[in-house]
């Protein structure tokens, strides 16, 4: 987007600022390598290329909304590939599951930014010159300009009138210069609205700032998720997270060692609106925090109301129930006891949980549990939950025996049970019914393997702990983008010329002309204001 600054060619003032000389074809048929390079650079930094890249960027962002993305919806990607492996491979080949980090998408925006930098640098130079230069010499034929008026004044001194107009223009923050042409006619040349181009340049610079902040910030930020059951404590360290996503430069020492205990998670349900019975109206996690200095404080975390501790923000992202499950061997010895977070499957918190017992019983067993917070039976006999609070909680367990796959060294999810090497011994498709438990109740496992007991059913909260040192620079650049954009779009940049010509009989003929640089809805109005001003001064 180079602006011609050479004085040999007249600058085309009828074009808006930031106007671009579109595809300049090489003037000479034969170009050296340097010539081609220069030609290529001019192509890349032309407005037409920038426009094409903008359109490509918009188009390139579309597939990321049509196909599930690994970053936002990894399960969706897995399911899609499982459903149609062939299509999955094709999509994978074009990186359509990772659009926004893919080389082709990156190429578009990086080229766009290179083009932008190539455009902005010469414009900064040009603008710096314009900021220190005098307004241009008054053109000889003002009537040819887009806004033009001529009026005559009687019985006034030419210099007095021009002086008044000069002061008025200064009051309106025009930069003013006085010229006299070869016929001896005095004129005023004025220009205003340099802020328009300043804003335009700052807007683009701030966008570069945003991109750099994102790029640099990615190395220093981290996010981690952790499920915490009521009564449990979590210590901020890499190993304590269920999942952790650190930037390149994050080390273990980057994590301040605060700890967080979840005292309780209070959930309120809508009760007075029959259209929303059972809808959650509020989640409040009551927590106790020990910061890295050892200070202990009680606090709350809500959705939309994170808690800030030692430069980390703690968000409440999810919740559910974590039934207390105890498994004993036939001799009555406890082989497993823990609160097991069950993952919610629907709005009424029907939840799914997995318990794996590799040791202590005659065989390895796996339990696949369903929790119904308010269990009712459908006419077909199937259980479901009709309310998310614990009104009539029931846990039903399907029991499997065999190889849990925990000894192979391959990491497995704690929330999934791989049943491929397991034999089901209780639940649907076996002669034995699922084990049904209510709080405090204990039932025998099939085949005399032992017993299972359900204790209390506390809630769990799933927290996200995030550290992002780029928040404030980002905020600054975003503010600059908006302010600069407003200046670039709404500050009118215009040139105004006024020429005075003494006529016989004490008449002064005043010609007013104006030229908008960029959109300027009030160009004519500005001229009329000036000519009226001179007329009033003249007649008073």
């Amino acid at each position: 987007m180079s602006v011609d600054t050479s004085s040999s060619r007249p600058v085309d003032t009828s074009r808006p600022d930031g106007h671009v000389d579109g595809g300049d074809a090489p003037q000479n048929g034969r170009l050296g390598p340097l010539g081609w390079l220069r030609w290529g650079w001019r192509q890349l930094t032309s407005m037409r290329t920038a426009l094409m890249l903008l359109l490509l960027l918009a188009l390139g962002a579309v597939p990321g909304s049509l196909f599930p993305q690994r970053s936002a919806d990894p399960n969706g990607v897995t399911q899609m590939i499982a459903r149609d492996p062939g299509a999955g491979r094709v999509l994978e080949f074009f990186q359509l599951f990772n659009v926004y980090t893919s080389p082709w998408f990156s190429a578009i925006y990086l080229l766009l930014f290179v083009s932008l930098i190539g455009c902005v640098i010469p414009r900064i130079r040009h603008h710096a010159k314009a900021l220190t230069a005098k307004p241009p010499v008054t053109p000889s034929n003002l009537a040819r300009l887009p806004a033009y008026q001529a009026r005559e004044l009687l019985g006034h001194d030419v210099q007095d009138v021009l002086g008044e107009l000069h002061r008025d223009l200064r009051r309106q923050r025009y930069r003013v210069a006085r010229y006299t042409d070869h016929q001896g006619r005095p004129s005023i040349s004025a220009e205003r609205g340099y802020l328009r181009e300043t804003g335009n340049l700052l807007f683009h610079i701030a966008l570069i700032g945003v991109l750099l902040t994102v790029a640099i910030g990615a190395g220093f930020k981290y996010t981690g998720q952790r499920v915490v059951v009521e009564g449990q404590t979590f210590v901020n360290s890499r190993l304590a997270f269920d999942s952790f996503d650190p930037g390149r430069f994050v080390t273990d020492a980057s994590l301040p060692p605060f700890s967080l205990s979840l005292q309780s998670l209070k959930v309120s349900y809508v009760q007075n609106n029959r259209n929303a019975i059972g809808m959650v109206s509020d989640y409040t996690a009551h927590v106790t925090v020990t910061n890295k200095g050892g200070g202990v404080s009680r606090s709350t975390i809500k959705v939309n109301q994170p808690l800030s501790v030692d430069g980390n923000d703690i968000y409440l992202l999810g919740n559910g129930y974590a039934p207390q499950i105890t498994v004993k061997n036939p001799a009555g010895k406890v082989v497993f006891t823990d609160t097991v977070p069950f993952l919610p499957q629907d709005a009424n918190l029907t939840s799914l949980g997995v318990i794996k017992i590799p040791d202590g019983l005659a065989k390895q067993i796996g339990l696949l549990g369903f929790l119904y917070p308010s269990e009712v039976n459908s006419t077909s006999g199937a259980s479901f939950s009709n309310y998310p609070a614990l009104i009539n909680p029931v846990v039903s367990l399907n029991v499997y025996t065999g190889d849990l796959g925990l000894n192979s060294g391959i990491p497995t999810s704690a929330y999934a049970l791989d049943t491929s090497k397991l034999t089901q011994i209780a639940g649907p498709s076996t002669p034995v019914h699922s084990l049904t438990l209510t709080p405090g109740k204990s039932v025998e496992l099939p085949n005399g393997l032992g017993s299972v007991q359900l204790g209390a059913i506390p809630r769990f909260a799933s927290f996200e702990i995030a550290h992002d040192p780029t928040q404030y620079p980002m905020f600054g650049f975003a503010g600059l983008v908006l302010a600069a954009l407003a200046a670039a779009l709404y500050v009118p940049r215009r040139r105004v010329w006024i020429r005075a010509e003494p006529k016989p009989g004490g008449v002064v003929r005043l010609e007013y002309a104006a030229l908008a640089r960029g959109d300027d809805p009030r160009l004519d109005a500005a001229l009329t204001q000036l000519s009226n001003f001179a007329h009033q001064k003249g007649t008073s």
Partner: protein, 319 residues
């Protein structure tokens, strides 16, 4: 109390549709009348232009637009009446809900279409661009029709994710930006039609005269640009406020959620529109098409993304 107010708001919304349909008819009749008048008016206008002199008293800022005909005056009066009922419907819905009336699809449409009407009235008062009358009232009737029939949900309290001051500002500014883009779309559409007719003369008879009564293409182009830059500024704010809210609610300010993606696409399309205005070969008709594409993306983002795409912004309230 709430269900009663909710019903009153819905009945008001139905009445608004009826009144806007009448406004639409008024504006359409006016276009017809204007088309017949255009034939007779052409000759004197030419004479007047030739008679202007440079030493004449200061010219009017804008050549004074033609006086509104009876149909247009009726259309305008009905539009104002409809807007008062519309405003009442929005306020009653807000009172029924005990919060801002823009938290689900029905409410977005109800409030958003009111904002479109407000921007429309403002623009038509200043420009007398009468073709906006049938286009905008027609568009709003369709929007409100879909909203009342397809999107209506009874008032329910806000889910925790929407309990934030950002709901007030982020969504309101997004709707306002949409209103500006919508009117700009109507202007750009007229511009494309006028340019097409100028080039091909494919339209004949009354339709041709309706198009001939439009202001010059350049004037439409400038108007569309001025509306779009306001929309673009508001949209930039929407995008940023959304990012700040996302940072507050989800722990990251940008995550390429479906809604974020489309908000970004729309921003880039309108940025391209503004750049096209300064690119040789792209001014005029081509940039007008970008404005049309931009508004199509806005509507897609509003309707299709809210209802059919999964993502964190699934706030249609529809099940």
């Amino acid at each position: 109390m709430t269900p009663l107010l909710d019903q009153i708001s819905l009945i008001l919304a139905y009445s608004v549709i009826a009144v806007y349909v009448c406004a639409f008819i008024g504006y359409t009749l006016d276009l017809g009348a204007r088309a017949s008048a255009a034939v007779q008016a052409e000759a004197p206008a030419l004479v007047a232009a030739a008679g202007a002199t440079m030493l004449a008293p200061p010219p009017q800022l804008e050549t004074s637009p033609p006086r509104a005909g009876r149909g247009a005056r009726a259309g305008f009066a009905l539009a104002i009446l409809g807007m008062s009922l519309h405003l009442a419907a929005v306020i009653v819905r807000g009172v029924a809900a005990g919060r801002v009336p823009w938290a689900n699809m029905f409410e977005f449409s109800l409030t958003g279409s009111l904002l479109i009407m407000i921007v429309f009235v403002f623009v038509i008062r200043r420009t007398r661009l009468m073709i906006l009358g049938p286009i905008v009232t027609g568009l709003v009737v369709i929007l409100l029709g879909i909203a009342t029939v397809g999107f209506y949900v009874p008032v329910v309290p806000l889910p925790p994710a929407l309990q934030s001051a950002w709901l007030v500002i982020h969504v309101l500014v997004a709707l306002l930006a949409t209103a500006f883009f919508g009117i700009a779309f109507a202007v750009s559409g007229s511009q494309i039609l006028a340019a097409w007719q100028e080039k091909t003369h494919r339209l004949r008879g009354r339709a041709a005269r309706v198009v001939a009564a439009l202001p010059p293409v350049e004037k439409l182009d400038r108007l569309a640009y001025r509306l779009t830059i306001v929309g673009f500024t508001l949209w930039t704010f929407t995008l940023m406020a959304g990012a700040i809210w996302a940072g507050r609610a989800w722990g990251r300010y940008w995550g390429w959620d479906t809604k974020e993606v489309w908000t970004f696409i729309i921003w880039v399309v309108y940025a391209a529109y503004i750049h096209a205005k300064a690119t040789r070969g792209w001014t005029g008709n081509r940039s007008a098409w970008l404005s049309v594409i931009g508004f199509a993306a806005v509507m897609f983002n509003f309707a299709v993304v809210n209802i059919f795409f999964s993502g964190l912004h699934s706030y249609s309230g529809l099940k």
